[in-house]
């Protein structure tokens, strides 16, 4: 039961054992995986849908891990969602390009928001959706995309917080940074 390399979480009565990976001198970091687990995705969406900030008109997420969760939130709330990519696609038209300030040494990540998708944020109140918010770097980059597209951010929504992001986030649970 008490395997020191695992962490058990319960959402909406559904229990999942999270694997952990060794991450340098941080020790073992628990990994959340919604991909491949539609049942876990559904209970998390069910709990999160009530927490979507009032007045939100559009959800914004980023590939890949939060995609099924955001889809379910969108389906349950009736709010459309927009998805930023991490690579340029050939079909993108006038994409917004946003660097993510990264915690990892020297490695930066870039978000790409296709022009027509950015258009769906213009003048809209937008909630940022992620599976996990840790350093908050990706969340900040997504918020910046909202502003650059002419929208306003209503809040940050995630299933889990893992660390101390600089912004106020609405989550179902806190996870330890490491075990």
């Amino acid at each position: 039961m008490n395997n020191p390399n695992e962490l058990t979480v319960t959402i909406g009565g559904l229990e999942r054992t999270l694997p952990t990976v060794r991450a340098g001198n941080l020790g073992r970091v628990p990994l959340v995986e919604f991909i491949g687990d539609s049942e876990f995705t559904n209970v998390a969406a069910q709990e999160l849908v009530a927490l979507i900030p009032a007045q939100t008109e559009v959800l914004l997420t980023v590939v890949t891990n939060a995609l099924p969760l955001t889809h379910e939130l969108s389906d349950r709330s009736g709010l459309p969602y927009v998805c930023a990519r991490k690579k340029r696609r050939t079909y993108m038209q006038s994409p917004l390009i946003q660097e993510v300030p990264s915690m990892t040494l020297g490695v930066t990540e870039t978000l790409w928001l296709d022009g027509p998708h950015a258009e769906r944020l213009r003048g809209r109140r937008v909630a940022i959706v992620q599976d996990v918010i840790a350093s908050g770097g990706t969340a900040q980059a997504l918020a910046r995309l909202v502003e650059r597209a002419g929208g306003t951010v209503t809040g940050y929504l995630a299933a889990f917080r893992q660390g101390e992001p600089p912004m106020s986030v609405t989550v179902l649970q806190d996870l330890p940074r490491s075990l």
């Binding site: 890949t64 995609l67 998805c83 696609r89 050939t90 079909y91």
Partner: protein
């Protein structure tokens, strides 16, 4: 902009026709951010899924929410083949493919952790659009290499040539100009 009208269940969309190579354009179908189409297609494809399928396998990224909906509706688990190797993967199985929409070699990677969920099982491959079949071919190779049997291929659309082996809800032409 020229568009091509498609119907998915009760939902219709006008897809933009965009050039992808000299002289060739495609009707761009992108389910990312289209909850209504994803739900309509997922529910319909779940209904068409052969009963003896054990597990769904889908390539990252665009068909991911579709696989989630088919999984939710059918009760069958789904596995995602990633396009980059992740540091946490255990003994990953990889293949390279050239994609029609990117024109570049694309890596497909199955986490070794997922191998046991495919070995000896009947697998349905889930994709948004099956076009040249390059991605499909590589995914099939990966599944067979780890001992799974590809028993069905389901997609929202086939594109270009007809593909009788694919269970699809519609067909997209290639546009030559």
């Amino acid at each position: 902009m020229n568009t091509f009208k498609v119907q998915v269940g009760a939902v219709t969309r006008d897809l933009p026709i965009v050039p992808v190579a000299p002289g060739v354009s495609v009707a761009l179908f992108n389910m990312l951010g289209d909850t209504e189409v994803t739900e309509a297609a997922g529910c319909e494809l779940a209904r068409l899924l052969p009963a003896d399928i054990d597990v769904l396998v889908t390539p990252e990224v665009k068909a991911l929410s579709l696989a989630h909906v088919i999984s939710r509706e059918s009760g069958k688990p789904y596995i995602v083949i990633r396009k980059t190797q992740k540091p946490y993967m255990v003994e990953p199985v990889a293949r390279e493919v050239v994609s029609i929409t990117t024109g570049k070699p694309q890596l497909l990677v199955l986490d070794g952790f997922d191998v046991q969920k495919i070995r000896g099982r009947k697998v349905a491959i889930v994709d948004d659009v099956v076009s040249s079949g390059g991605t499909l071919h590589s995914i099939r190779q990966i599944i067979e290499e780890v001992g799974g049997e590809v028993a069905a291929v389901v997609a929202v659309f086939t594109e270009g040539q007809e593909r009788p082996e694919v269970t699809a809800l519609g067909h997209l032409p290639l546009f030559e100009n």
